[in-house]
Structures are given as structure tokens and as C-alpha cells.
Amino acid sequence: MKDELKKRLVKGPDGVEFEVDPLRDYYCDARPQVEPPAVSKIVEDFFNWARAESLWILGFATGCGAIEMRPLMTPRFDAYRFGVQWRPTPRQSNLFIISGYLSTKTLKRVIRSYEQMQSPKYVMGLGSCTINGGMYWDSYNTIKRLDDYLPVDVYVAGCMPRPESLLAGFEELKRIIREGKGEGANKYAAEFDRYKANQKQVIHDWDMPDYNW
């Protein structure tokens, strides 16, 4: 475990010494909860329509697919006209695009970022690497099935997918959300133990709380 994560005594500005356990004190490690839908269907449908029309992407690129984001952001493909925009922090975003191969080392950061995103949140797997490993199918440090570790709403196949396929993927995701099937966050909460077991199977130096919200 890293030094900064170990329990230690800290002296406060008022001179009082107290013990700090970073894993417990700096994070909320309460398990995620399944959030029930709104009472009335028409309200839930309205919520889903609103959610579908504002997909805010976390600017976190795991692999080579990140290169497709630049033409998407800029005037040629201009994803902003679909209500899609990129945000610098997990707190402001609700769509996580896993753009390409995901090494176990990156997976750890991805999990932490995903768990910090506000619910409802969606995951899009980009490229064949997230589907079945792609060209990294026999690599020693790259996972082969993204949906074992995170709840994936939609996959975009290709190596690499063109920006047009990503736009089609956004449209598909919007359809899924409008139909009320974009329940990734709830699925993650419901099957929390299975996801954690899978994650811990590949991340050998697990030095964070189980759920760091």
C-alpha cells in the first residue's frame, strides 16, 4: 500500500493530534443504491427524454480511440449540435466513453472515475478492444471484456470507429435512454458484488475503498 494511504497521526492547526485513515476518512465507501424510477411513468419518460438530450462526456481517454474525439468536438462533425459535450470532471458528466484498449492499470482509474460520476450514468465501449480484446486479445495487461467490469450500455464496433459511427452510437444510446433501458448505474448497484469480484480479480494492488464516491 502507498504511504499516503496508510493510517497516520496528523497535527491540526489547533495543536490537537488525531489519527487519519485515508481509506475511510477521505472517501465515502457506502455501497451504491439502486434508485427507483419516478412514481409516474410520464414523469420518468420526461426525465429520460431530458437525459437523452444532454449527454455530457467525461474527458477521459483510455486508448487510441481518443483521437476520434477531436474531429467530433470540432466543426467538421460537431457533436455539440446533438447535445453532446465534453466535461473535465466526473462530477459533471454522465457518459463515460471507454475509448479503446483498457489496461488493468487504467481500469483502476476508470473505476474510480466511473464511481465518482453522478447517477444516472452511461458507459459506451468504443472499438473492438472493449468488446473482445481486439488486437490485444493475448496481451498480459489488457482486459478483454469491458462488460465484466462496468455496465456497458452501448458498444461501437470498429478499429478504430470513425466519428460517424460514434455519432450513430450517440443516437443509439439516446434511443436506449428514451426507452428507459439506460439503467447502467442501477445495474452496477444491483450486481455490485459481481463487478467488484471481477475487478479485484485483475487489479492486484487494490489500494482503494470498494466504492469511492
Partner: protein
């Protein structure tokens, strides 16, 4: 490059010489003579820049080949020094005091090939891999496919065909 080699050969017991291009050559050096040769190249022959330090695993011959690539900026030429070290208990003297950047390469080689560089700064700390306990993954007897199959879940339905026979059947069904 040939003149440089002849010149160096009078001073050091050099091995095989390979000229790749007019401005790039490789020389095999005995382990103990590497350090004096590096200092000579750096201070007398203007090879002031260490481009890279990397390793090759010659599994069948039972040794690692370390390659120190030196660059002569003014003369626009590169010289690679090959050092063979035994694979069992692989260890090598560090050159981090000659070029501080070498410490990073040495850390990488320690982690990926398991070659020890005693005394190199932070050499035993994790470099890229996190929580790796098995055999260093760049060693050729490390079976990366087997490791991947044992550790990472596999999505069924993926099939492979030999490209040569597959395309032959597709394009020329009569001949197949």
C-alpha cells in the same frame, strides 16, 4: 564508422561489428569493458548522448543482450554497444552516474526483463506494472497468451482462420 571501430579496437577488446547504415553501427563489447568504452566515447569521441538502453532476450543462447545506443550529435552518427550477459541471475553494472536518464531505463529493464542493476536509484520500485508478482513479462519464456487466458475473461464467439487458406478458399474455390 569503420575507422572509428578500427580506432576503438586498438584500445578495447571489441567483438563483432555490424554496420547498418553509413551513420549507424553496432559493436559487441565484453561486459567489463563497457564502462571505460562509454566514458571514452563520451569524452573523446563526442558521443555525448545516450539515446536508449534496451534489452533483447536470446532465450535459446541463454543470455540477454543489452543495447546502449549512443549518438554523436555533431557528427550525425549513432553507435550501438551490445553487451551479452548471462540469463541466469541477470545483473549489470548501472551507468546512471554517467547519464542520469539511464536510471529510468534500468528501472524498466528490472521490471520487464528482471535484469538487476544494483545501486541504481529506485530500481526496485514499480515502474509501469502495478502489483505484478509473476515472471517479468518481456522474458520470452513468459507465455503472454496463456497468462491472458488464465487471467482475463474471454468473450466466446471469436474465431480465427489462417489468412492464406481462408483467402484462397474465398477467392479461388476451384483450386482449394
Amino acid at each position: 564508422m569503420r575507422e572509428l571501430y578500427e580506432q576503438l579496437k586498438r584500445l578495447f577488446p571489441l567483438g563483432e561489428y555490424t554496420e547498418q547504415r553509413r551513420d549507424l553501427a553496432f559493436v559487441t563489447v565484453p561486459k567489463d569493458h563497457l564502462r571505460p568504452l562509454l566514458i571514452h566515447l563520451r569524452d573523446r569521441e563526442r558521443f555525448s548522448h545516450l539515446v536508449l538502453l534496451t534489452a533483447v532476450d536470446w532465450l535459446e543462447e541463454g543470455h540477454f543482450q543489452l543495447t546502449y545506443l549512443m549518438n554523436d550529435r555533431a557528427g550525425k552518427r549513432d553507435l550501438g554497444l551490445r553487451v551479452l550477459i548471462p540469463r541466469d541471475g541477470a545483473a549489470m553494472e548501472g551507468i546512471h552516474d554517467l547519464w542520469p536518464t539511464a536510471a529510468t531505463y534500468q528501472r524498466e529493464l528490472r521490471e520487464m526483463f528482471g535484469i538487476d542493476f544494483p545501486g541504481s536509484p529506485r530500481v526496485n520500485e514499480e515502474f509501469i506494472l502495478e502489483g505484478w508478482t509473476g515472471m517479468p513479462p518481456y522474458r520470452r519464456d513468459f507465455d503472454t497468451k496463456k497468462f491472458s487466458e488464465e487471467n482475463f475473461n474471454h468473450r466466446p464467439g471469436r474465431a480465427t482462420t489462417d489468412p492464406a487458406t481462408h483467402m484462397k478458399e474465398k477467392l479461388y474455390p476451384d483450386e482449394a
